[in-house]
Symmetry: C2
Subunit: 443 residues, 2 copies
């Protein structure tokens, strides 16, 4: 990349340009990552308008902002003109107000209206992720008419995989994959080859739902209709890839006591990262008050048999892990639609049986280990292992059911993962442990 | 669905068939889920061959096996003929030997050779997920020739989004999106419109790498070439969606002490679920030996100040959560390619600074709580809070770096998540805690 900048500076821009045009736009954007300031603008300006717009949609937020602030009004208009409408809207959403103003000032009345309309859809709704660049035809057209129509409207290149057939009121009547058009005779009527049995999305559908539809039907793009069933946009599968990623990362974060953020780790400041971590840590730290209350209540038991303390960490970790295993499977099952709320009792019963198997195995092995390796007395070993057995059962049933209960109360099941489950299970585990101790050892 | 089966049984199969054909194949497959035995075969047989094959690729493994075992050899040949080659191979891979034999017996010599060749690619390689149904043209062809060629080879419908231009040795020379073909004059030469600057995949590339390429370049399909750069197949984005899902679920599992499994929760037996959980629980339970050793070593400290035991759970949970937060961000950063091994020192330094911020906040708040709400003495409160501070630092640095070290040793970074990090941090936390206690309280 330095070489190319050198070429531009030594007044061989045409050579630089032709070298750049040998590359894929995504690769150009990747190479531009490390370039800043004037060099960035120099490089950006040498690209042909259409390539510049494509590259623009792949570079970082910071670089976009810098470019928009640096280039002329006319250049901005040129880029917005070439960008897909959904990319424009995504880009506007992340810019500060003064930049947005500069962009909107440089778009024509009509585009501005469309942008504002798209911005008005709720975040994460189908309307907010759809693009309005699609090909619509009428059912009375012949294939030849349709091709003429496409050529005339000079439609954008990326979104001509499917033709959408609409009536006079823009209601969607059918779809035709473009390959079908190619293989038919010129005189064939659109209505004779269109597929009327299509799946569509509503503008207000949540993006998670939209992603589920794509996964289910294996389509590459799907039409979006408004309340009156009028075709208003399409969603393409490449955007779905990003959404799936986003939703998964959100779950990874929540399941590990992090507030979700879509910033890259290395690009996020220390304070911002700390902020995303501290709330959950605080909440969980404070809820550990329960464990200290229980232990303090039993301090006499502990002071007479101090060795009991040695097995608290093992008991708590095993309980936490057992609960995390169950809750993970249920949280993901809910996310993928494999488990539903009505399965509540099935899950309780299944987790109960699993925990009997797992709990017995762990308790027996641990009993032998305590007796023959750690050489503790039978009463203590019994106390530890019976508590372990019950803790595993409690943990698995709690871990398996709390995500469903959360969903029932319209909370995100993902918060009922390892961190919270561990804290809850800890409390129960200690109660069981000390009750067992008083009962078995008889203090 | 019962209604349709009723229709078939009451000898109105043509009506049943036309009702079914109104539906999307995926929906037919969904409705068939609850149907078993003879009814399933009845229903399956009423579908036209092409629809039957499509439905077949969406139903469950068990239903597929049942159908193959029940229908005639000729019917099997018909389905395999209509199925995409990648679906056939996926399907064969999950069938028991006797069913595989029955299928292979009913395919022609050539198909059998292709199937065996595809089966020979390593699991999770690009070769094992590609399909061989693509359209290849020569660069000397005109658009008209190319369209004739497509019509003649009667290529399958789903995979004609891109034409692949190959030379006499089948080496890939360029690609053309089908919409470009549609918008050009009939006499245009393929070589004048083909894009020679394309991205391709090698047969032996890992599926995770392939998915990363798709995410990077936003393509809907990509060509797969062998060692000699000959075009051997293509991969389509709908399969990538499944792969991303699969890889994510694997990470969710590993990060929560589960062995990954691609079975649905409700469909998996209790013993199989228990088996996938017990190994990690055992490993983690046994590694808790370290915590019990430390506590037993300090039993005199504990017996003189029993209240110290009351804060062990809080200390351990906060440490575990702090470590889990850091490790999650690094594990996901590595998976998404946002973090690399060379960033090791940057991460250590970043986590260190974050932990100073977070640790200070938590320690100060906890100190006030212990003093004024739990009303413990200053020495104990100091011991707890200074240990908390150091534990958070240790946890974040360990959590942030272990995933990278794992990757360095070619282990999956995902195993360095909450469960293992917690166990490791526990040990350190207790060592710090008791050292602080002896030092501050001076026992």
């Amino acid at each position: 990349m330095e070489k190319i900048i050198e070429l531009i500076k030594t007044e061989k821009p045409s050579k630089a340009r032709s070298e750049l045009l040998e590359m894929n736009v995504v690769d150009i954007a990747t190479l531009m990552e490390d370039i800043e300031g004037k060099d960035l603008i120099l490089l950006f300006r040498i690209l042909p308008k259409d390539v510049a717009a494509e590259v623009f949609s792949y570079i970082s937020k910071e670089q976009r902002q810098y470019i928009v602030e640096s280039i002329t009004d006319r250049e901005i208009a040129g880029i917005v003109d070439e960008l897909f409408m959904d990319d424009t809207v995504d880009f506007i959403e992340e810019m500060p107000a003064n930049v947005v103003k500069k962009i909107l000032k440089n778009t024509d009345e009509n585009t501005r209206k469309i942008i504002n309309h798209l911005l008005s859809y709720p975040e994460d709704s189908a309307g907010s992720i759809m693009t309005i660049e699609f090909v619509d035809v009428k059912k009375e057209m012949t294939i030849k008419d349709a091709i003429e129509h496409i050529k005339k409207t000079g439609i954008d290149k990326e979104t001509v995989d499917t033709l959408y057939v609409i009536d006079a009121n823009r209601k969607l009547e059918g779809v035709i994959p473009i390959r079908k058009v190619l293989l038919c005779e010129e005189g064939t009527l659109i209505k004779d080859i269109m597929d009327t049995n299509f799946v569509f999305i509503n503008t207000l559908d949540d993006q998670e739902e939209v992603a589920a539809q794509f996964k289910k039907y294996d389509y590459f793009s799907m039409p979006v209709v408004d309340k009156e069933n009028r075709l208003v946009g399409i969603i393409t599968i490449d955007d779905i890839l990003d959404i799936i990623e986003e939703e998964n990362e959100e779950d990874f974060a929540k399941m590990n006591a992090l507030e979700p953020s879509d910033e890259e780790y290395l690009k996020t400041s220390v304070f911002s990262l700390a902020k995303h971590r501290i709330v959950w840590l605080l909440v969980l730290m404070l809820s550990a008050t329960f464990t200290s209350i229980i232990i303090r209540r039993y301090d006499e038991v502990l002071s007479s048999i101090v060795i009991l303390a040695a097995y608290i960490p093992m008991l708590m970790d095993t309980g936490g892990n057992s609960g995390a295993q169950a809750s993970t499977l249920i949280i993901r099952g809910l996310a993928l639609g494999e488990v539903e709320m009505k399965d509540y009792m099935k899950i309780v019963w299944k987790e109960f049986r699993i925990s009997i198997v797992v709990g017995t195995a762990l308790a027996v092995l641990n009993f032998l280990r305590l007796l023959f390796i750690e050489r503790v007395g039978v009463p203590v070993a019994l106390t530890v292992c019976i508590s372990l057995f019950f803790t595993v059962i409690l943990a698995k049933v709690i871990g398996g059911t709390l995500p469903i209960i959360a969903k029932k109360f319209k909370l995100d099941p993902a918060i009922m993962a390892a961190p919270l489950i561990t804290t809850i299970v800890d409390t129960f585990a200690l109660m069981v442990y000390f009750s067992m101790a008083t009962w078995i050892i008889g203090i």
